[in-house]
Symmetry: C2
């Protein structure tokens, strides 16, 4: 079993990565202090993994709350349903909330844990590759608002993250690829060696070889943990983690939440960032092609949606959290493995990128 410690002072926590962790009662129980536990999952994940988790929690007072599946349910109304489930018991302030599912379940459950009685302990059991490499580090929790994604939320660190690689066996190929988009992101922003490793191993990752998946998750989380440790509340360095996300969020919101998977939108977004970086003279066409080839091999889309025009993109991007005093701050590439944040790119070049229908 790999264990990675996310170093955040008194809010530090471990990420456990291995096969079969859901059945490891001793490990899971070691992170639960009180008697009451509320497990939140969704209608897709619960039939697969809830029973084995409940067995590992035997002896505790365990309640469950099952959400519908999909990004479109990551909203205030569904959040209120979680509060209602907690208060119906009623669950007290020592209750541990466990998120069993992908990013949506983790984000909304984590935000519920942050807000319920002003904060209760939280354990995250991500069951998708995306959630294991992304939301498992950084403590970002949120729900969406009709006017913008992740606009309402909190920074709230879990007690621990349990990444059971066995759960990836039931992930469909599209979801696995969406997770690989975030994995590739870490290579792009700060780890050329990891990018090269991914170029070499992308096919075996798609074949779900457990050892390789564990290594990809560990290296992704380690990269993210280093960035987050420097900048817990996203004042500076952490912004690099948003490579592709400002474009990607605009695509997700513009196309309607749930139509594009988050990782798919981020894949296109990273390619748009690469395109703008090339137009700005920072990277060359070969770099862009190399990125596109890896994304394609990862099973990700590399062509932007034709439904959004430049004005709609800009309008959607203005709602992004990275906007400062009216300027959209973007993460761009100096080279593969080196990203930076900029708000003084040429606005015309941004428009060219947004108008482009073929990015490589």
């Amino acid at each position: 079993m790999s264990v990675l410690n996310v170093e955040l002072g008194e809010r530090s926590y471990p990420i456990h990565i291995a096969q079969g962790l859901l059945g490891n009662a001793e490990l899971i129980k070691s992170f639960i202090k009180g008697q009451q536990v509320m497990v939140v999952s969704n209608e897709t994940v619960a039939p697969l993994y809830l029973d084995i988790l409940l067995q590992s929690l035997s002896g505790l007072q365990v309640y469950t709350h099952i959400l519908p599946d999909g990004e479109e349910y990551k909203n205030l109304e569904v959040l209120d349903g979680i509060f209602d489930a907690l208060l119906k018991v009623p669950c007290d302030r020592q209750t541990t909330m466990i998120a069993l599912g992908g990013g949506v379940v983790g984000d909304i459950t984590g935000f519920a844990a942050a807000c319920y009685q002003r904060g209760v302990p939280f354990v995250q059991i991500p069951t998708t590759l995306l959630a294991q490499v992304d939301s498992s580090v950084g403590g970002k929790t949120a729900v969406n608002h009709p006017r913008g994604k992740n606009m309402i939320g909190a920074f709230y660190q879990p007690r621990c993250v349990i990444a059971d690689i066995t759960t990836l066996n039931t992930l469909d190929d599209r979801q696995l690829s969406a997770g690989l988009a975030e994995v590739i992101k870490y290579g792009l922003i700060r780890d050329l060696n990891f990018f090269i490793w991914l170029e070499k191993n992308i096919d075996r990752l798609r074949q779900r070889e457990p050892q390789l998946l564990a290594e990809a998750i560990l290296r992704s989380c380690a990269n993210k943990a280093e960035v987050v440790a420097e900048d817990e509340l996203e004042g500076g360095a952490r912004a690099l983690l948003n490579l592709g996300h400002t474009f990607g969020h605009a695509i997700e919101a513009g196309m309607g939440y749930g139509k594009w998977l988050h990782g798919e939108a981020v894949a296109i977004g990273m390619l748009m960032a690469a395109d703008l970086s090339r137009r700005s003279g920072w990277i060359n066409r070969q770099d862009v092609d190399r990125i596109a080839v890896l994304l394609e091999h990862a099973g990700l889309p590399v062509e932007p949606p034709t439904e959004l025009d430049v004005e709609r993109y800009l309008q959607l991007m203005m709602v992004d959290k990275k906007v400062k005093d009216g300027r959209i701050r973007l993460v761009l590439l100096k080279e593969i493995g080196k990203a930076f944040v900029s708000d003084d790119y040429d606005a015309d070049l941004l428009r060219q990128t947004l108008a482009s229908r073929s990015l490589f």
Copy 2:
């Protein structure tokens, strides 16, 4: 002008207490970093004080959002309305949110500031005595849930608190008395000298002598700040601040939010805590009478509502945040000026207190 610093490390902030602060543009602007400001107030306070505040903010991009007045609007739906107002602009992550109003406006605006884009700067301008002595220290923000008061919220510290004593001139007598309930609380839990000072000056406080009000606010905030500095996230000592609140919350919820003012319910709650402390042998009947006399002189109710029976009380109290593993933890009195937290009181004596229709 009195300035009290609430010491919370990097989250420390000042409380300014004086007459006429709303018109002090230099002071107010010194706490605003970005260009965008969202002022949240309510339909009662806005006609009185919004204009003068807006004058003090001239030159900034200022937006306003006016809530209906009343505790019954401190809910998720009204909170969502604040998010909608912010996103309609759209306000960015450097936006300062200003709460101009009493405890409800402060609690819901502070919670909105805690959650909007995972946290934006927050300035609190409390316009009631209760808000000036209570919510101005401690960073507790929240909304109510139909199943319980303040069940959804966050610990979130403001950049500063501006307590303009001039605003108390328009407060009606009932609201002033409700604020005095929390003032008396500080004397009861940890400051016998302050309690004696209040016994001496209660009439002049009700006549709103500015010097005395300023002193009462300063001494209340100083007491609260000392407790909060020890225990920001309410793990221990801070629980003392809840004297009367577990009983009081049950009264507020049981009678329907808005019928009893918070301070009125807390006044009765403190008397119930005193009654249980007497039945438990910790204080004597003279102490209880002395507390009741001060509360009466402050214009507060001293007789519990007849509508709630023992079972209903217990049911409502079980939803309280102070419940731990099924036991209701209560703040009780060892003597006037010395409170403690207990969950091993005699349950029969609690029932006697809850059943009692005359507490002194």
